[in-house]
């Protein structure tokens, strides 16, 4: 006699639970999710770095001062610093020492033993008020009023370059992210196709027992969505661990000076399992619907 108790019976899953291909699919989708999350972290860090550089450049101006007539470069630089100090929108003003100015231009001049013979200009670093910075025109006017031969560099050329580079990096990141999402979708679609083909018999029996095509498609949709969400969890977890290691090993100061990661960046990986599940659900549903319609 059977010890089977119908009262305690729990319905079995419509589709077989395990499949040898499931492990490979989870691995591939997890890898794609890992790469997608790393891309997201990189985009965030790049954006932060670009904003940091922009803030620095926006808050400063450099004045290049050339001595005129019998005036010494040091005296011209000191006069320029004095002329700019106290102007509205100007914070601290520092005339850089000769050695610093020479060190800055050394890369362009090469290995010259004695720069004394050259009319090396002096530099004046100007910190601007971040809330209401002085315009280059107002600085230039103040310098001209003192009869100084000086050029104001507000870093606008560099700023535009950095902003353009940051924008480009952002779009590249978004494009890579979209590409990875599309690849994940294609992998799931392929797996759905293989899964449906392998379970052709099950699909046919369900169909002939009166199951609607939508019902069968939903079974595959749920199955692959669950699998992709699990893979997304693995991928996101891996990327979060990688991000945490980079942060712990130095963050903005250490290993990743150009990609400063902060702890809150790691939250960016949280939507990954849901996103992976959604992409998989859409891909599996569309594939299953098309295949079931053809099969039946």
């Amino acid at each position: 006699m059977s010890d089977f108790d119908p009262g305690r019976w729990k319905p079995a899953a419509f589709l077989p639970e395990a499949d040898a291909r499931d492990g490979s699919l989870i691995f591939v989708v997890a890898t794609l999710c890992f790469l997608a999350c790393l891309t997201a972290l990189t985009v965030l860090a790049t954006d932060r770095a670009a904003r940091g550089w922009s803030d620095q450049l926006t808050g400063q101006a450099t004045v290049i001062v050339r001595a005129k007539g019998a005036e010494t470069p040091d005296s011209a630089a000191a006069r320029a610093a004095e002329a700019l100090s106290g102007l509205p929108g100007v914070g601290e003003v520092r005339a850089l020492e000769k050695e610093k100015a020479e060190a800055l231009i050394a890369p362009w001049l090469g290995d010259i033993a004695d720069l004394d013979d050259l009319p090396v200009p002096r530099l004046v670093a100007v910190d601007l008020d971040p809330k209401a910075p002085a315009t280059p025109q107002s600085l230039d006017k103040a310098l001209k009023a003192q009869g100084l031969d000086a050029v104001v560099d507000d870093h606008s050329i560099w700023l535009k370059d950095i902003q353009r580079a940051a924008g480009f990096a952002r779009w590249v990141g978004v494009a890579v992210f979209a590409l990875i999402a599309a690849a994940a979708g294609a992998v799931v679609a392929f797996a759905t196709r293989a899964g449906l083909t392998a379970r052709h018999e099950v699909v046919e029996v369900l169909h002939l027992a009166g199951a609607e095509n939508d019902f069968i498609a939903r079974l595959f949709q749920m199955r692959f969505a669950r699998m992709a969400a699990l893979a997304g969890l693995f991928g996101a977890g891996g990327a979060a661990i990688m991000g945490a290691i980079l942060r712990l090993m130095g963050g903005g100061q250490g290993l990743t000076p150009v990609l400063p990661i902060v702890w809150t960046d790691l939250l960016a990986v949280l939507p990954c399992p849901v996103a992976a599940g959604l992409v998989a659900a859409v891909a599996a549903r569309l594939t299953a619907q098309a295949l079931i319609a053809k099969m039946t």
């Binding site: 079995a12 002939l208 009166g210």
Partner: protein, 241 residues
């Protein structure tokens, strides 16, 4: 009953659970497998469908359980022109047809109990409303002690009876069986026949495709005979079993 093509009243499918009107069928560009079929089945009737291998028995059953489409002619099922039924509504028609396949088509990942409960689950019934029915049905087909068994562990006759239980669990209006005794011994064949007769007594229209002439002879039921895709009549034909 058999009808002549286009004879008076041939298009009138009223009263019949199934009516074929001048139906032909072909697979792709191949020659016609079924040619100009005209017949109808009255509610509660019991027929055998006979014919040599390749005569088109399985194809005819496929047309009835909506797994294939006719290349010509009209099929009326439960008074509805099948060709005019929207795809979304076809599952509702299929739920009124029970099919016993020659190769059983049991789901190997499900227990015997789960296999039988499948059509009821698909129909959206709650487990509590059918647990007892499924158990009783399995007992009725002689599988009381095998409810938890997986199909792979069942013998041929047990699989056959399980497939029959699954086909009839939601009390279909039509029961189709394709060579239901093809994989079992003579004694089991007779037991299965008795099951079908019992179901027929309960009001189910039964159509059984078989090679087993002995079974047909013992039953005394009317026969639809296929020869090279054409339907001919053998034996007694009538509206009832």
């Amino acid at each position: 009953m058999l009808r002549q093509p286009h004879d008076e009243g041939a298009l009138d499918a009223e009263g019949a659970v199934l009516a074929f009107d001048d139906v032909s069928m072909r697979y792709g560009r191949a020659p016609e497998t079924l040619k100009d079929l005209n017949f109808s089945l009255a509610p509660g009737s019991f027929h055998f469908l006979t014919g040599a291998s390749g005569a088109g028995k399985s194809s005819l059953l496929k047309l009835i359980y909506l797994a294939a489409k006719p290349s010509k002619g009209l099929i009326h099922l439960f008074g509805q022109n099948v060709s005019a039924v929207p795809v979304k509504e076809q599952p509702m028609l299929r739920r009124r047809i029970g099919v016993v396949f020659q190769e059983f088509r049991l789901l190997d990942h499900m227990s015997a109990f789960d296999n039988v409960a499948l059509p009821l689950r698909i129909a959206g019934r709650k487990p509590d409303s059918y647990r007892q029915d499924v158990a009783e049905l399995l007992a009725w087909v002689g599988l009381r002690s095998r409810m938890h068994a997986m199909p792979a562990t069942l013998a041929g006759g047990e699989k056959q009876r399980l497939a029959i239980a699954r086909a009839v669990v939601n009390r279909p209006d039509i029961l189709l069986a394709d060579e239901p005794t093809g994989n079992v011994d003579h004694e089991m064949g007779l037991r299965i026949l008795r099951l079908f007769v019992e179901l027929n007594r309960l009001g189910t229209t039964v159509l059984i495709a078989t090679h087993d002439q002995d079974l047909v002879a013992r039953s005394g039921k009317p026969v639809l005979h296929l020869e090279e895709g054409r339907l001919t009549q053998l034996g007694p034909v009538g509206g009832g079993g």
